[in-house]
């Protein structure tokens, strides 16, 4: 009589995996990325002159073709990684801050404001210092507002931070119009407060700063008491309560840190890269950073790899688009496809899929019941 009971069991049984060996997880991810690239190349073979292999050639040349491209790549990596680092502490705490776009932008605005209005009235290094402080404060304020409401009233932080992005964007546009009376809506290069070029390389200081930030965030999360506390809060609020961690305090403190880091990146973006401000200066990287951080398992070292993968795809695909006179959106398309594959492959790392054969059926039935 027990036999007919199994007839209705589903054919595919999904169960949670305990942990996966590192090797397996690397292989699964590599397969995902490679198959995504093959799909993209296939797509390119229909739309570009270079065809299937041309895709890879151009991709490569877009990254390393000239020294300038390499510097551009590193610069783009620095900014994206910087924002990704900023969102990571909050994510590790399971605080879904998707407002890095706005936090970075508002910091950039503060920086630009300092450069524009204080420029020429004081020595450059003082100006740079003041710009940095202003940026950091602006970023922190933008981040701490949703955090306070989350901590005290449990206001949904995902939606709150999302809205804050657009408030920041409109605010930037407002000031751009206000500062440029002629209505052209282009602030142009602000002449003061630029970060110096090291060894003749304008971007070097950004790259070094972000390298430093990476190390800082890594150590903060792994080795500091604060990092430990926010990990516990993220894993289990009940445990946090049990050992006497003040959850509200940790939430607010961590979001301030997130905002400060966004502030630093906003500063690097304006004072070290663009020397101007507009609403597209962050260009969606606040959102891309979320993906980078998540794909990097909130580990700053892995995030270097995921950020590198992302900017490489963007730059490489841009090169392909330029060579083939295709719209720049081609890059978004490629990045989207590769991300889909990586996101989907996480499933196979988290769950075990068992297709039932006659024999396995009996087996897994017993397992399931034991679990229940």
């Amino acid at each position: 009589m027990a036999n007919n009971a199994k007839v209705r069991e589903p054919l595919i049984h999904i169960s949670k995996r305990d942990t996966v060996p590192l090797k397996f997880s690397i292989i699964v991810r590599a397969i995902a990325i490679v198959s995504a690239l093959l799909l993209c190349a296939l797509l390119a073979s229909f739309t570009t002159k270079g065809g299937f292999f041309g895709f890879f050639i151009e991709l490569f040349s877009g990254l390393f073709g000239t020294p300038r491209r390499i510097w551009n790549l590193l610069q783009a990596l620095a900014i994206l990684l910087g924002i990704s680092l900023a969102v990571t502490p909050a994510f590790k705490m399971k605080f879904w801050n998707i407002g890095a776009e706005g936090q970075t932008l508002i910091a950039g605005l503060a920086c630009a404001a300092c450069m524009k209005f204080l420029g020429g009235t004081m020595p450059e290094f003082v100006l740079i210092l003041i710009s940095l402080i202003a940026s950091v404060i602006a970023g922190a304020v933008w981040a701490v507002i949703p955090a306070i409401f989350k901590a005290f009233w449990n206001t949904n932080e995902t939606l709150f931070t999302l809205m804050m992005n657009y408030v920041a964007m409109n605010l930037v546009r407002y000031f751009v119009f206000a500062w440029v009376p002629n209505g052209s809506a282009v602030v142009g290069v602000i002449p003061h407060g630029h970060l110096p070029a090291l060894f003749g390389q304008q971007y070097l200081i950004n790259i070094i700063s972000v390298a430093f930030l990476t190390a800082f965030v890594y150590v903060y999360l792994k080795e500091s008491k604060h990092g430990y506390e926010l990990t516990v809060v993220g894993e289990s609020e009940n445990t946090a309560r049990y050992i006497g961690i003040n959850v509200k305090k940790v939430v607010i403190r961590t979001m301030i840190l997130s905002g400060i880091l966004c502030g630093v990146v906003g500063f690097l973006l304006v004072a070290g890269t663009a020397f101007t401000i507009n609403d597209a200066i962050v260009g969606g990287r606040g959102f891309t950073a979320i993906l980078v951080s998540w794909l990097g398992k909130f580990n700053p070292l892995y995030m270097i790899l995921t950020a590198l993968l992302t900017v490489s795809l963007q730059q490489g695909a841009n090169q392909i688009a330029t060579v083939n006179r295709m719209p720049g959106a081609f890059a978004d398309l490629i990045v989207g496809i590769v991300f889909f594959f990586i996101i989907a492959c996480e499933f196979f790392l988290k769950y075990k899929v068992k297709i039932r054969t006659k024999h396995a059926q009996n087996d897994s039935n017993v397992n399931k019941e034991v679990k229940a």
Binding site: W153, N156, F160, L162, Y174, D332, G336
Partner: protein, 319 residues
């Protein structure tokens, strides 16, 4: 008659938000937070114009298209294109149980990319003629003075958006399936125990919701821009997400909310303000949304909270 012109323009523009928020409300009610809605709306737009383009190229006289087909074909294309993206989203978030935030944002990146990419290749000649089929419904509107302008001067999609919003509200509140859908979004384990398929409801809600949202993109291009092409639909998409919160997940409230958002969006063009001040006015919808979000969370009235399982994948054996 400035006020009537302003109201008319607001109501007309509100359609973009209304489609988006109705679709997203339906999706979120099933517990799926689809942050891919901006991308989905873009895809709706590009598939819509693809349909239109295909129809016009097959049309004997593209300067005088059949009004029904010129609207119906792009409508179906738009709905299906966006719906497919929704289906893909459901596959990732429901079947593969991927993180909803991450998946949604990627859908947006991908959707915007796909749209801008394809949009360049689609032949849009004679779209101005096709657009007329969208914008004119009641030719007698102009005979009725301000009354006609306020109620009958809109294109077909404006009325469709309102009808769909009312229908979705009705569906959610008055039908068994709507009740089940809400149960899935509130407490999937309970729904599962009651014998409902969480997967089925989430798939359907996300796919149909995405399809509805896609029509917002179609409206933007074919009606608001009268057939011109522009990329900036995703900004409208985020406003649609905001509108969902503003309307506390009720599409019928969303009708009024969308008109308010439309009015705020249009106000700068009607008020005597400079460019800078325009931007401040445009900021208001977002600030209002934040205020609503704060207010509902502090007041903590259970009916006005986001669906309880919003953003959470359901896995039965985790019970």
């Amino acid at each position: 008659m400035g006020i009537i012109n302003f109201l008319t323009a607001s109501i007309r523009f509100s359609t973009v938000f209304l489609f988006g928020s109705t679709g997203e409300s339906l999706t979120e009610k099933s517990g799926n937070l689809n942050l891919g809605i901006p991308g989905t709306m873009c895809v709706g737009a590009v598939f819509g114009i693809l349909g239109e383009s295909l129809y016009l190229s097959a049309c004997a006289d593209p300067t005088n298209p059949n009004p029904f087909l010129a609207v119906f074909i792009p409508l179906i294309f738009s709905f299906c294109g966006a719906g497919l993206l929704g289906l893909f989203n459901s596959f990732l978030t429901t079947t593969l149980r991927c993180n909803q935030n991450v998946t949604g944002l990627t859908i947006t990146t991908f959707g915007v990319g796909l749209t801008n990419f394809l949009g360049n290749y689609i032949d849009r000649s004679n779209f101005n003629y096709a657009s007329k089929c969208f914008t004119t419904v009641f030719p007698f509107a102009s005979d009725l003075g301000w009354f006609g302008q306020l109620f009958f001067s809109y294109g077909i999609l404006v009325y469709l958006a309102i009808v769909i919003a009312i229908l979705v509200s009705w569906f959610l509140n008055k039908t068994r399936a709507g009740l089940h859908l809400r149960a899935v979004g509130e407490n999937p384990a309970t729904a599962d125990a009651a014998g409902l398929s969480v997967t089925k409801y989430r798939y359907l809600a996300t796919s149909i919701g995405s399809g509805i949202a896609g029509l917002g993109g179609l409206f933007y291009i074919m009606d608001y821009l009268t057939g011109a092409w522009e990329y900036s639909i995703d900004a409208m998409g985020w406003l649609a997400v905001a509108l969902v919160i503003f309307s506390v997940w009720r599409p019928n409230v969303g009708i009024l909310g969308s008109i308010l958002f439309g009015a705020l969006y249009m106000a700068p063009y009607f008020l005597n303000v400079n460019f800078a001040q325009q931007e401040l006015v445009k900021m208001i919808p977002f600030i209002v949304t934040i205020v609503v979000l704060i207010f509902t969370s502090i007041r903590n009235k259970k009916e006005n909270q986001p669906p309880q399982a919003l953003g959470v994948s359901y896995f039965r054996e985790e019970r």
